[in-house]
């Protein structure tokens, strides 16, 4: 006890002591993150190397990426806890005391919309829909391209309304259950309607995925903290056990509805899905122009995406008109930009043309053309510029964090007319969050997403035979003399050659298109698989894929920062009766199941509606019998699960398997990954509550029958 000392003075800390304090603090944070990402990284690397037996590509870069993920997450989590969350909480506590309801709701709405604009996860959705084409899913194509801003508006308005209703809930102590009972049946009903409309049906996956994707690593902690703050001071929230949670749930449900409704509104103007030929037909020109956003854009799209026969109708079936159009492109830069959007796309198209004169007219000389060709081919391969990446990710992080926190700080000054409490700590936290986000998203792109792409692309090897372009071998001095022939049971002749490689004599099937006779070169691309089972698409191999998806989903979820923040809030509110670790484990198992189911959807092309309806109906039942606190926590965990770690891995996996199987889109996995954790959390909640009650009852019964001692 150092009672009686005047302790207003600051302690003087020597540089060494300060260094030790910081070191201990940093070590703890970093170790925590190493623990949380270790599983997913080790798992992905081992799976690729040991199970698929395919060597790692770019391993140095991957290592740098993983390290960046760990350090970035450590900074980001600390930034959340020091900066963003206290900021949100202070506002939540102060707003109800200082302003009227309307102001709070307006601020909440702006915050919701702003958060969506600041963290546009729309990039991830575009990636999932990269292979969508305009003729087979016109509405979906429209939303992912020309109308993608409407998509963002719809989601933003959805999240804004979620904030409004969330705040009203806290202030008036409303239960979350009625919101679920109303929203989920409506969503299922419109989805069922949409399921029978060929255009809307394809939009469903996007809409349900939007719900999962909207709530990012900055938004979730912020609105969570604000909700905790508001319900903390709300006089009526005491009635309600789940106080503080539930906004994230609404912020997942409302955007789904907003996107489907926007889809319903736009769909009358959009033509039905049709064949490629009909789409580009002369009669369909007006409709197709609407989807692409103008005749020029339509022509550009057609030139890049379809064949000569298909796009000729756009030029009134007149070859001269087509030639004239091509010439005008070469001459006129503005026209090129109008048609193709960028010079790069134009060059890509031009270089693929057979017309040598046309190319020559643009490039001027053969040498320049060769250069361009080389440059263009080089672009297809990894074009890695670390500085550009740093710039891009710093910009994204700044965009996600600065406007939102600036808005909140402004509200603090202008509306509440209060100074920021512990301003130094909060500002430091925001800087940490900014830095952390830039580093970890860079790390994800270089490390996790890269290995995700590799494993995703190679995963089909478990059930079918795939080529491994990264292990391409160029055999020099190849000649036809080396080719042998073999006969098959049905009498067909197959050609092969012997190849000596790494002390091994390999028999390799000869493919004429890989043999460049002029240069005497044979491009050998090794192939592998099916690793499990003998036949193509066999069940054993597919089950391995599903199992892989499960473990990957589980591991990725452990590392999600927003879930970590939710877990801390839950542990704090329940005073440790629901531990963070238990919540994260439960959610991770749920996500694992969800992603496995999502993969099953891709592999067997199951309709999304029938994948979503049963779990949601089950959830209505589970929510009805669960206690309010678990309903809030369970539904909220659905929104937070799919964050920056899970999404790129899931997309890589979906695209890898999807493109190998020729499936058009990778939507739906994320929505499965967000419905399953709700089920698992509610189940654990029911079991926990049941045990508590059973223990209490059993004890009371034993007590009264066994001894019967009166006190």
């Amino acid at each position: 006890m150092k009672a009686g000392k005047d302790q207003r003075v600051k302690y003087n800390v020597s540089a060494k002591e300060a260094f030790n304090l910081v070191l201990r603090y940093a070590r703890k944070r970093i170790l925590e993150q190493i623990k949380s990402v270790a599983l997913i990284i080790i798992y992905m690397v081992l799976f690729q190397v040991l199970v698929l037996k395919i060597p790692l590509y770019d391993s140095v870069l991957l290592g740098v990426g993983f390290t960046m993920v760990i350090f970035g997450l450590a900074f980001f989590m600390e930034g959340l806890l020091l900066g963003l969350m206290p900021l949100g909480e202070v506002l939540g506590i102060r707003l109800p005391a200082k302003t009227n309801l309307a102001t709070i709701l307006i601020i909440g709405f702006i915050l919701g919309v702003g958060a969506t604009f600041a963290e546009p996860a729309i990039g991830a959705l575009k990636m999932a829909g990269a292979s969508i084409n305009a003729w087979s899913s016109p509405l979906l194509f429209l939303f992912l391209n020309r109308f993608s801003h409407y998509l963002v508006y719809a989601i933003g308005v959805g999240v804004g309304f979620a904030m409004i209703f969330g705040i009203l809930r806290f202030l008036y102590g409303w239960s979350l259950k009625p919101f679920i009972y109303i929203c989920v049946p409506i969503l299922l009903a419109i989805s069922l309607y949409a399921y029978f409309d060929p255009n809307l049906n394809r939009l469903l996956g996007l809409a349900w995925d939007c719900g999962a994707i909207t709530t990012g690593p900055v938004t979730v902690p912020l609105i969570l903290a604000m909700g905790l703050g508001i319900s903390h001071v709300s006089k009526r929230s005491g009635k309600n056990d789940g106080s503080g949670f539930g906004v994230v749930t609404l912020a997942s449900l409302f955007p789904i509805m907003a996107v489907i409704i926007t889809g319903l509104a736009v769909s009358p103007k959009v033509q039905e899905p049709m064949s490629e030929k009909d789409f580009f037909a002369y009669e369909n020109k007006a409709n197709a122009s609407f989807i692409l956003g103008g005749e020029d854009k339509l022509k550009g799209y057609a030139l890049c995406q379809t064949t000569y026969d298909n796009y000729l109708p756009l030029f009134a079936n007149d070859e001269a008109q087509y030639q004239e159009f091509c010439n005008s492109l070469v001459r006129d830069k503005d026209k090129r930009l109008q048609v193709f959007g960028s010079e790069n796309v134009f060059e890509g198209w031009l270089l693929a043309q057979e017309d040598h004169d046309l190319k020559l007219r643009y490039y001027g000389s053969d040498a320049k053309m060769e250069q361009a060709l080389e440059r263009y081919n080089g672009k297809g391969m990894a074009d890695f510029n670390p500085l550009d990446k740093v710039k891009k990710h710093s910009r994204d992080a700044a965009q996600a964090i600065i406007p939102l926190s600036a808005f909140l700080i402004l509200v603090m000054f202008l509306v509440l007319r209060e100074r920021l409490p512990r301003a130094d700590e909060i500002i430091l936290g925001l800087v940490f969050a900014l830095l952390g986000m830039a580093i970890f998203s860079g790390g994800i792109e270089m490390g996790l997403a890269k290995i995700g792409d590799q494993v995703g692309a190679n995963l089909p090897a478990s059930y079918t035979r795939i080529e491994l372009p990264t292990e391409r071998i160029t055999i020099k001095g190849f000649s036809d003399d080396l080719v042998n022939e073999a006969i098959m049971p049905d009498g067909r002749i197959q050609q092969f050659f012997y190849f000596h490689h790494k002390d091994d004599y390999l028999r390799i099937p000869y493919q004429a298109d890989k043999h460049n006779r002029e240069l005497g070169i044979y491009e050998h691309i090794p192939s592998r698989g099916p690793l499990f089972g003998a036949t193509d698409m066999n069940l054993a191999g597919l089950l391995v894929v599903l199992l892989f998806a499960f473990v990957m989903g589980y591991g990725a979820t452990l590392a999600e920062p927003a879930l970590n923040a939710l877990g801390m809030a839950v542990e704090d509110i329940t005073v440790g009766t629901f531990k963070k670790k238990l919540l994260i484990q439960t959610v991770a198992v749920g996500v694992g199941f969800g992603i496995a189911l999502g993969m099953a959807k891709i592999i067997w092309e199951l309709p999304l509606f029938w994948m979503l309806a049963p779990p949601y109906l089950l959830l209505l039942f589970l929510s009805a019998i669960s206690s309010e606190d678990f309903v809030n926590i369970g539904w909220d965990s659905a929104g937070v699960t799919t964050g920056p770690i899970t999404v790129p891995l899931v997309l890589a996996l979906g695209l890898g398997v999807g493109s190998q199987l020729g499936v058009a889109e990778g939507f739906g996995i994320l929505s499965m990954a967000s419905v399953c954790p709700i089920i698992s959390v509610l189940t654990v909640g029911l079991v926990t509550n049941y045990r508590r009650k059973a223990a209490l009852r059993a004890f009371a019964r034993e007590e009264s029958t066994a001894l019967g001692v009166e006190s």
Partner: protein, 374 residues
């Protein structure tokens, strides 16, 4: 200054509502509720092995505090005991202790004239003590486990935020987490010294910056002996038999020999201290504790508590959440602290502070030889 009785009822969360309804029906005002958890030994396997590998099971509890005049103590405690069937272990415990109200906002009143229906008297143990142990967040389970394994009684854990050295470090403070856990344990006074020793060695309180443990007296009450969730294999399990014998002999002294004195190390305990408790509106806890610390308190643990509304007009006047700040101070510092809090407007309408003290028999924390610089 006047003396009063504080009755603390730590009750399973599922029963909080019936308790507060009962208290409201008696017209009791100023009811405060803290949320906490009890830990019991768990021998279950866990769902799909999903549960973390800890032998503890947690139950949410709420600690309801009310302040009454001594004349009401017996009837009120008996009333609560019978109404909520606290005879059954695991439902909740009730204890009373002497406190001194130092100063309070006028809205705070000690209930002195209540109509409590006549009760069958309940027999409470009178040979109890309470031990409180404040440690870093995350270390509470280890301390709780010690008391469970020793068979002492079931601890109640609450969360708090610590203040003290940390706030004097400038921005470097972020390297020391402020989150604390407070473990409260009510048990036989005969064994409490050995349990205190176990707490000190488990929580390493003899190292700097680890926390504090202190013992305070209890007038009378019950203890929670349900230390395990294990189902009984015999007609009655050990906990039930202990609880039954406790009630037959009317005390816990017979259990004294169960815990061997392993107090080999000589420790110098701090004596002549009081626990100074400040209850005030949400958000003021930190500010007022800081003022207290500038005037002689060495540290404070701030917990959150809820105010139970007993009437409609209450709704408009009283904030729903309160901070409760617990400080260990020397009695000589109390007047100065009280005056400083008063000067800061602590007892006015906005902060609505209630300041009371509670004797501490002995306390233990790390003490440097001289005032140490961090």
């Amino acid at each position: 200054m006047n003396t009063a009785i504080r009755i603390n009822i730590a009750i399973n969360k599922a029963l909080t509502r019936s308790l507060t309804e009962y208290l409201k029906s008696l017209n009791i005002r100023n009811i405060f509720v803290e949320t906490g958890r009890t830990s019991t030994l768990n021998n279950g396997t866990g769902l799909f092995g999903l549960r973390p590998k800890t032998p503890l099971a947690y139950d949410p509890v709420e600690i309801v505090s009310i302040f009454v005049h001594q004349s009401l103590e017996d009837d009120l405690m008996a009333g609560v005991f019978h109404t909520l069937d606290l005879k059954t272990p695991g439902r909740g415990t009730i204890q009373s202790s002497d406190i001194t109200i130092i100063k309070a906002h006028p809205s705070f009143q000690i209930c002195s004239q209540l109509q409590i229906p006549q009760q069958i008297p309940a027999s409470f143990f009178t040979d109890l003590r309470a031990i409180a142990c404040v440690v870093q967040r995350g270390e509470g389970d280890a301390v709780a486990r010690v008391s469970l394994k020793a068979g002492a009684s079931v601890p109640v854990t609450t969360y708090g935020i610590g203040g003290g050295v940390r706030d004097k470090l400038g921005l470097l403070r972020i390297t020391i987490p402020p989150e604390k856990e407070v473990i409260d344990l009510v048990m036989s006074k005969y064994d409490i010294d050995s349990v205190m020793e176990m707490f000190i060695s488990e929580a390493k309180l003899d190292a700097p910056g680890r926390g504090i443990a202190y013992i305070h007296p209890i007038r009378k009450g019950t203890v929670n002996t349900r230390i395990s969730r294990k189902r009984a294999e015999q007609a009655a399990n050990m906990e039930q038999m202990i609880s039954a014998i406790d009630s037959i002999v009317g005390g816990v002294e017979w259990r004294k020999t169960r815990l061997e004195q392993e107090n080999t190390r000589m420790r110098t305990f701090l004596t002549d201290l009081v626990e100074l408790i400040l209850v005030c509106s949400d958000g003021f806890g930190k500010k007022l504790s800081k003022i207290a610390m500038e005037n002689g308190a060495s540290g404070a643990t701030i917990c959150k508590t809820r105010y139970i509304y007993t009437s409609e007009e209450d709704y408009d006047r009283n904030p729903p959440r309160r901070d409760i700040s617990k400080m260990i101070v020397s009695p000589s510092a109390v007047p100065k602290i009280t005056q400083a809090i008063e000067e800061a407007g602590g007892f006015e309408d906005e902060a609505q502070a209630l300041l009371y003290s509670h004797p501490v028999l002995k306390a233990y924390t790390y003490r440097a030889k001289e005032v140490k610089r961090i």
